[in-house]
């Protein structure tokens, strides 16, 4: 703090002025440049990595069309979607939700009822499912989000159970048997329940459905990541890190938490729709607390608030038991031990949100003095530049992240 603050230029004295973007703020005293090769800039590299992973997942059927592989891959993809939804609630907004599977159930049941009882198609159903998930989010989140941490966890746990027990006991959801015969999607004249031939390649229903799920998952993950980087995402993270400070910044913490909860509900509901069609049936037994715990495990294991983290977490959670199939009945035991070991050695998750790949760390934003000032700015900055420049040129740039 030794450096003295340059006095504001005379034009500024007594009245704040908007900057060139219309925000009330002084113009920056330095220019910023991103250093490092273009491809190694974190944003560019991570986007490219995401695109490659998407392409690989999407084209997996060209490597194998083994029915078993495609089936567990579809489940894994749906799990990624679920985890990205729960990540909004737990990872970004910091709300411990132990009943997340309730929204999964709401989505699956709504789609199940609409497709089997009312014979609606996908295009008409999606808005209804969205609306019902939003309502469910408000009904469950509205009263509970006034609570903090542990209390919230208990109440969401309760709501998760209420949804399951209700589904188990009312007629429209088919009671304990649930709903079966849910069709695969058909939309815009493209029916995924029959083999499709495109360019001489035959896509079996399971394969085309898998590709459809990968596409939906990619949209869900991309949207969640984008929301997290925008205005609302910053508000979510602010609420997670310090509720009072967020409130002091003009963020209505209750409304912010509710939007996170509703967004999470929509993600969960859409994953439920996909799962309903994937399995062809929904039953209350699929929505037990263990499911909520597993999705939460995926988020925590991967790294809360981290997009690559939750993808890894969801893959581990959904594929782990399958990969350990060789160990017979002991596989769940072994899986549990592996998870515990993993959390012991890396409690912040496999890929924490603040972690950056080592070879991306050289890229950073550096400050340089403004040299080529346009005439207008020059007036503003004549008093600023010499002082500020002299002082900082000698100071090392702070820790690069």
């Amino acid at each position: 703090m030794a450096r003295l603050v340059p006095p504001p230029p005379p034009e500024h004295a007594g009245a704040r002025r908007p900057n060139v973007w219309g925000f009330m703020a002084p113009p920056p005293a330095f220019e910023r440049v991103e250093t490092g090769p273009y491809l190694l800039r974190p944003r560019v590299f991570m986007n490219a990595l995401g695109a490659i992973c998407f392409a690989f997942a999407f084209l997996l059927p060209f490597i194998t069309i083994n029915a078993y592989v495609i089936s567990i891959a579809t489940s894994a993809v749906i799990y990624i979607m679920l985890a990205s939804g729960l990540n909004i609630v737990v990872g970004y907004a910091g709300l411990l939700d132990l009943g997340y599977v309730a929204f999964f159930a709401v989505g699956a049941y709504t789609w199940g009822i609409m497709s089997t009882r009312l014979h609606w198609g996908m295009i008409e159903s999606i808005p209804v499912v969205l609306a019902i998930c939003v309502v469910a989010g408000i009904v469950i989140g509205g009263p509970t989000l006034r609570l903090r941490s542990d209390y919230l966890a208990i109440v969401t746990l309760g709501f998760g159970e209420i949804i399951r027990i209700t589904a188990n006991n009312i007629q429209v959801t088919g009671g304990p048997q649930g709903i079966y015969g849910i069709p695969k999607f058909s939309f815009l004249g493209l029916d995924l329940s029959v083999p499709i031939t495109i360019g001489g390649i035959v896509f079996q229903p399971a394969v085309s459905y898998y590709m459809f799920c990968v596409f939906c998952m990619a949209v869900a993950v991309l949207l969640a990541a984008r929301l997290a980087k925008g205005r609302m995402g910053r508000a979510w993270k602010a609420v997670r890190d310090d509720e009072d400070a967020a409130e002091a910044m003009g963020i209505n913490t209750y409304a912010t938490k509710l939007t996170a909860y509703i967004t999470g509900a929509v993600w969960g509901g859409m994953a439920g729709v996909l799962m309903g069609s994937h399995l062809g049936s929904v039953a209350p037994g699929s929505f037990v607390f263990l499911q909520s715990a597993l999705v939460l495990m995926a988020v925590v294991l991967g790294g809360m608030g981290s997009t690559p983290g939750i993808v890894i977490g969801a893959l581990v959670i959904s594929l782990g038991p399958e990969l350990l199939r060789g160990f017979g009945n002991g596989r769940y035991f072994l899986f549990g031990v592996l998870l515990i070991v993993c959390m012991l050695f890396r409690p912040q998750g496999v890929w924490p949100s603040t972690w950056r790949l080592p070879f991306l760390r050289s890229a950073r934003v550096e400050r340089v003095d403004i040299l080529d000032d346009s005439a207008g700015n020059l007036l503003d900055r004549t008093d600023l530049t010499p002082q500020a420049g002299d002082d900082t040129s000698a100071e090392p740039q702070g820790g690069g992240r």
Partner: protein, 264 residues
């Protein structure tokens, strides 16, 4: 962007009348009255536990006052939600730094711009031109404020990695980003060395030059006497003096509160 530009500001922007807050039997604040004019620098001083921070929390809406009113720019904001108070142009910092630990410095400052960003969910999801404009503009504004407070480390750093003095600067930049008319600083000088305090005094004057009024809680008498135009002294939740630094220094009640009475 601001609802009222500086020339039309009322003559008194903050009027605190007979403010009181009780916790059970504890009278944390008991009858505090003071007012703030535009561009004024006022210090609130008093021994530890005198109720200074409680008074701040009442004014900014974190506590609901048991008695009294707070009028901010002609509007009664008593008992209003802190976020609403903040959106009306009152910004604050906290006694123990309360930055967002898992967010970068730049994002920390950008949360201050939350209420000013015209960016909807759809904009963010689809990266519309409006989103790009809001993001670019908020980054530029946040950088402007970081440069203004003299922050010299990396803007991508996480708060936990920063030296204490830099964290203080980030917190002030974040509060300024909310475009306040009145800035409340709760012990901004705590934990700073002499040199840094000198920088802080300069910074506070710089903020005043922007047309922002400042109320600060401070223990460092040198700093208080140096920069304040008026000083409010509190003890046991009560206001015992209100005047210019020279008046307050000579006030027998203040001397008694700080040094104790002479035993005879």
């Amino acid at each position: 962007m601001t609802d009222a530009p500086y020339p039309t500001e009322p003559a008194v922007i903050l009027q605190v009348n007979d403010l009181a807050v009780f916790f059970g039997g504890v009278r944390a604040v008991d009858g505090l009255t003071f007012s703030v004019k535009p561009r004024e620098i006022i210090s609130v001083i008093g021994p530890n536990g005198a109720g200074k921070t409680s008074a701040f929390n009442c004014i900014t809406g974190f506590y609901r006052p048991s008695r009294g009113t707070v009028i901010f720019r002609h509007e009664n904001i008593t008992g209003m939600r802190p976020s609403k108070v903040a959106r009306r142009g009152m910004s604050r910092t906290f006694q123990n730094l309360r930055l967002f630990r898992d967010m970068s410095v730049l994002d920390n400052v950008r949360t201050g711009l939350h209420a000013r960003l015209a960016e909807s969910f759809i904009d963010t999801a689809l990266h519309t031109p409006r989103y790009r404009r809001a993001e670019r503009g908020s980054i530029d504004a946040a950088r402007g404020w970081l440069d203004f407070v003299g922050y010299a480390s990396s803007e991508e750093a996480f708060v936990a990695e920063l030296p204490y003095g830099e964290q203080r600067r980030v917190e002030i930049a974040r509060a300024l980003a909310a475009d306040p008319t009145l800035l409340l600083l709760d012990e901004p000088g705590a934990g700073l060395n002499r040199n840094e305090k000198q920088g802080l005094a300069e910074l506070i004057r710089g903020i005043q030059n922007l047309g922002i009024a400042i109320v600060l809680i401070e223990h460092d008498m040198g700093l208080v006497m140096d920069i304040s135009e008026r000083v409010v002294v509190m003890n046991y939740g009560k206001e015992i003096a209100d005047g210019t630094p020279a008046e307050v220094k000579a006030d027998p009640a203040v001397i008694e509160a700080y040094l104790g009475t002479e035993e005879t």
